[in-house]
């Protein structure tokens, strides 16, 4: 008897206008350029769509999320978080600009009884977020390929095989919007004298934006809290 192949969703989230916040979307664009997938795999530019993404999550048996995440690690570090750790971690400590939103989206999918069986968060520690209109920093850009490799190996573990394209697709054959592809986004940027680029950290510089000092200890603490409760 044939069983239906699992429904796989690979999604990049974040706002590509805020420098390294664009990591998720850029990673999934790049994955799409270089690899073709069977029909049960969908690649989605989730942007900052929040609750509107819940349906995509509900339909997925296997979910991979690319995102810029603040773990308090050295800038540009790639961090993989798997399975039950993902939402539990996200729900307790503010780690990304929109992640509370995404954690809620996961919880909403769970409330509706449609939670992915396998979940992988591929996060990168951003170098710079306060650069409006900016693109990925080199250290973060350099993590796109390792991030893709991590996604492919996770998929392989779950019996999903990607097919490397003989030649990459043109950049504007993107799953995102062709008007905002990375090369044109970077070259078309107005000079700093015309366009202010920074946010205002002064009102916000009270530590709220820093991740936990000791990430692993933080995760352990959260997981043991959860264990105590259950």
């Amino acid at each position: 008897m044939m069983t239906a192949p699992p429904s796989v969703l690979i999604m990049g989230i974040g706002n590509l206008l805020w420098a390294d916040e664009g990591f998720g979307v850029r990673a999934v664009e790049e994955l799409h350029r270089h690899y073709a997938f069977p029909e049960n795999v969908r690649l989605v530019d989730g942007g900052t769509q929040g609750i509107y993404l819940v349906q995509h999550i509900r339909e997925a048996d296997i979910l991979i999320v690319f995102d810029a995440v603040d773990y308090g690690l050295p800038s540009g570090t790639l961090k993989l978080v798997e399975g039950a750790e993902v939402p539990k971690f996200l729900g307790v400590k503010k780690v990304s600009l929109h992640q509370t939103g995404f954690q809620e989206v996961l919880a909403m999918a769970e409330m509706l009884g449609d939670y992915p069986r396998h979940l992988l968060l591929i996060g990168v520690q951003p170098v710079e977020l306060d650069d409006y209109g900016g693109s990925l920093r080199p250290q973060v850009k350099a993590q796109i390929l390792p991030a893709i490799a991590a996604a492919l190996s996770f998929l392989k573990e779950h019996g999903v095989n990607a097919h490397r394209r003989t030649a990459p697709l043109r950049e504007d054959a993107t799953i995102s919007t062709p008007e905002t592809i990375m090369s044109e986004y970077e070259t078309g940027r107005p000079p700093e004298t015309d366009a202010l680029r920074s946010g205002d950290a002064r009102l916000l510089a009270d530590g709220r934006w820093h991740g936990p000092a000791d990430y692993e200890a933080e995760v352990e603490r959260i997981l043991s809290d959860v264990a105590e409760r259950s």
Binding site: L112, T177, P190
Partner: protein, 599 residues
């Protein structure tokens, strides 16, 4: 200052305890509120500040105006389509491009779809929890809930005691797992929650139903926009071609099968709004109709640009199905016409904003807008320059400019649109408002409140669902008459453009009046200014000391517990601000009392 009166009629007194509510995320700019409460815990002064520079438009300088929509739709995750539509309209206005009738109908269907989607999701998944207590729902009797359902929404099929028992059990399991999920961080023991457990259970059940149903609403935009999550837009029309006999291959144009699907979605949307959303608003409203705080500017000064042109390319008020006009000084007898090109009407002021103008006693029209940052704190600021505990609102205190209409601070949004429509005698709006007031047995004055704002949003969703059907039928009739044109590409080539042009595009975004002003020089964007609804509503004081809509709406509200300002959140959320926020609540000494989340 201790006590002053503002020109727009509010008595401010900042002598009492200061409560700071500070959202921190920055999907679309941050917002922070500070209020002073008196000995009775009544808000006597309110300060709303945008705490971050939002360089929305400047990154468009020098870019191709035909691409601007794709950038502006990334400004924010929830208004994507509305910004895109406003942008293509601004560029079409500048270049004098006429779009085909089919494009107008399709754009209207997409815009109405976004309105309904945003209103529904905002109410159930962001705002309902300011009124509904999910923890209290665990105490409900499923049988009594079923009776309540049959009494309030008799046409909704899901109403059996067994159904509510199942939902309650799921909820129980969820809460017992220690994972409150979307319900965490609520003030669930606060006396500000007034619903009986049965109403709480019914509302939580509909929270889940709405979460399931909203996926359908999105499909309309996916079909016409050609793709998921970020639909496509086009200067000159819409990017989808129509071929009624075409098959369903990927990337195929709109055909009969897809249109039939859209027709089904439109009908199911009408049913859901009529039989679930509206009855819930009446049911919840009936328990809160004694809580009529939050009116703010809504009974004084409201503004709508109008939207949903019946015929293509005519943006005059008579052709716009969503009302347009301005009401000032509480005079509902007179609705003033609004002209976004008139340099005397919409102006932005900066005396209380962190920007410099050569002459700050004057406002500037967006076409002549200057954005020069000038971060300076007032002498009465408490805290340090890197960690502000309390702002000094007598000086500059916000990264949001203060837009004004002929010098007046204005509220925008569904309630503003409904007040303007009601004042104009708009038959459909009047009928909806009157029947809602009657069902709740409250006078017209009750409309000017937080609850009124929440109700107007639901009524607008109901109106929009019907108008979707109107434009769908119009589209089909036009196609059947032999017109399948969806785009006018005559002026798509920049070599056909004049050297220097300017234009303005406007829409009614779910959360209020939205306009983009563009100047195009040598085929590139020379200047681009967006005045977004949350800038109107969240604006700081202006040169005359008028307070903005958020500030006004918080005035004179009684807060049950200063350290759990559910009333502040309820009122700010009722505007559907374009912010996703976490909040910190601080006591008068700046010590953090609670860390909660603004949903």
């Amino acid at each position: 200052m201790t006590a002053i009166q503002t020109p727009n009629g509010f008595n401010l007194d900042n002598s009492g305890q200061r409560v700071v509510v500070d959202p921190v995320t920055r999907i679309e700019g941050h917002m922070r509120c500070e209020v002073n409460v008196d000995a009775e815990n009544i808000i006597r002064n309110a300060v709303s500040t945008g705490t971050m520079w939002r360089g929305l438009e400047v990154i468009l300088k020098g870019r191709d105006p035909r691409d601007a929509w794709a950038f502006v739709q990334r400004i924010c995750g929830v208004c994507t389509g509305t910004h895109a539509l406003t942008s293509v309209r601004a560029v079409e206005d500048a270049l004098n491009i006429q779009i085909p009738e089919n494009a107008n109908s399709i754009r209207n269907i997409m815009q109405l779809s976004l309105q309904i989607h945003d209103h529904l999701v905002h109410f159930y998944h962001l705002h309902a929890l300011d009124w509904v207590n999910p923890v209290n729902a665990l105490k409900a009797d499923p049988k009594a809930t079923s009776e309540l359902q049959m009494q309030t929404g008799p046409r909704h099929p899901k109403s059996s005691p067994g159904y509510f028992r199942d939902v309650q059990n799921r909820l129980k399991k969820f809460v017992e797992s220690g994972q409150l999920g979307p319900f965490k961080n609520g003030y669930w023991t606060n006396p500000a929650y007034l619903l009986p457990p049965e109403a709480d259970l019914m509302a939580v059940t509909h929270y889940l139903e709405a979460l399931d149903f909203q996926k359908e609403i999105m499909t309309t935009r996916t079909i016409f926009g050609g793709k998921d999550t970020h639909p496509n837009w086009l200067v000159g029309g819409v990017p989808c071609a129509i071929n009624m006999d075409g098959d369903l291959a990927a990337g195929a144009p709109i055909n009969m099968e897809r249109l039939n699907y859209v027709a089904g979605v439109i009908d199911r949307t009408i049913d859901f709004v009529d039989n679930v959303y509206i009855p819930d608003i009446i049911a919840i409203g009936s328990f809160y109709k004694g809580w009529l705080y939050g009116g703010g500017l809504s009974g004084k000064s409201v503004l709508a640009y109008g939207d949903i042109p019946d015929r293509a390319n005519d943006y005059s008020p008579g052709n716009l199905m969503m009302p347009s006009g301005a009401i000032i000084n509480g005079n509902l007898q007179e609705v003033h016409p609004v002209d976004l090109r008139d340099p005397e009407q919409v102006q932005e002021f900066v005396p209380h904003s962190w920007y410099s103008y050569p002459d700050e006693s004057k406002g500037l029209h967006p076409w002549d807008g200057i954005t020069e940052p000038n971060y300076k704190l007032g002498p009465n600021t408490i805290g340090t320059s890197t960690n502000i505990q309390q702002l000094d609102e007598s000086a500059k205190y916000s990264w949001i400019k203060a837009p004004r209409w002929r010098g007046h601070a204005m509220e925008v949004g569904p309630l503003a649109r409904y007040v303007v429509g009601y004042a104009q005698g708009h038959a459909e709006i009047k009928e909806q408002v009157d029947s809602t007031l009657q069902a709740l047995n409250v006078p017209l004055s009750a409309l000017f409140s937080t609850l009124g704002r929440t109700a107007a949003r639901a009524l607008e969703a109901q109106w929009a669902a019907r108008k979707q059907k109107y434009f769908f039928q119009k589209l089909i009739a036009n196609i059947k008459a032999g017109d399948s044109s969806t785009a006018n590409t005559e002026k798509f080539d920049p070599s056909t453009w004049p050297k220097e042009v300017k234009g303005v595009g406007f829409t009614e975004a779910p959360r209020g009046a939205l306009a983009h002003w563009v100047r195009i020089k040598n085929t590139k964007i020379d200047n681009y200014q967006c005045v977004v609804p949350t800038t109107w509503n969240g604006s700081p004081r202006d040169n005359n000391g008028n307070i903005g809509a958020f500030e006004a709406s918080l005035m004179n509200t009684k807060v049950e517990r200063a350290e759990e300002p559910v009333e502040i959140l309820r009122t700010i959320h009722s505007f559907d601000p374009c912010l996703a926020c976490s909040t910190h609540v601080m006591g008068p000494d700046g010590e953090e009392l609670a860390n909660v989340k603004v949903r």
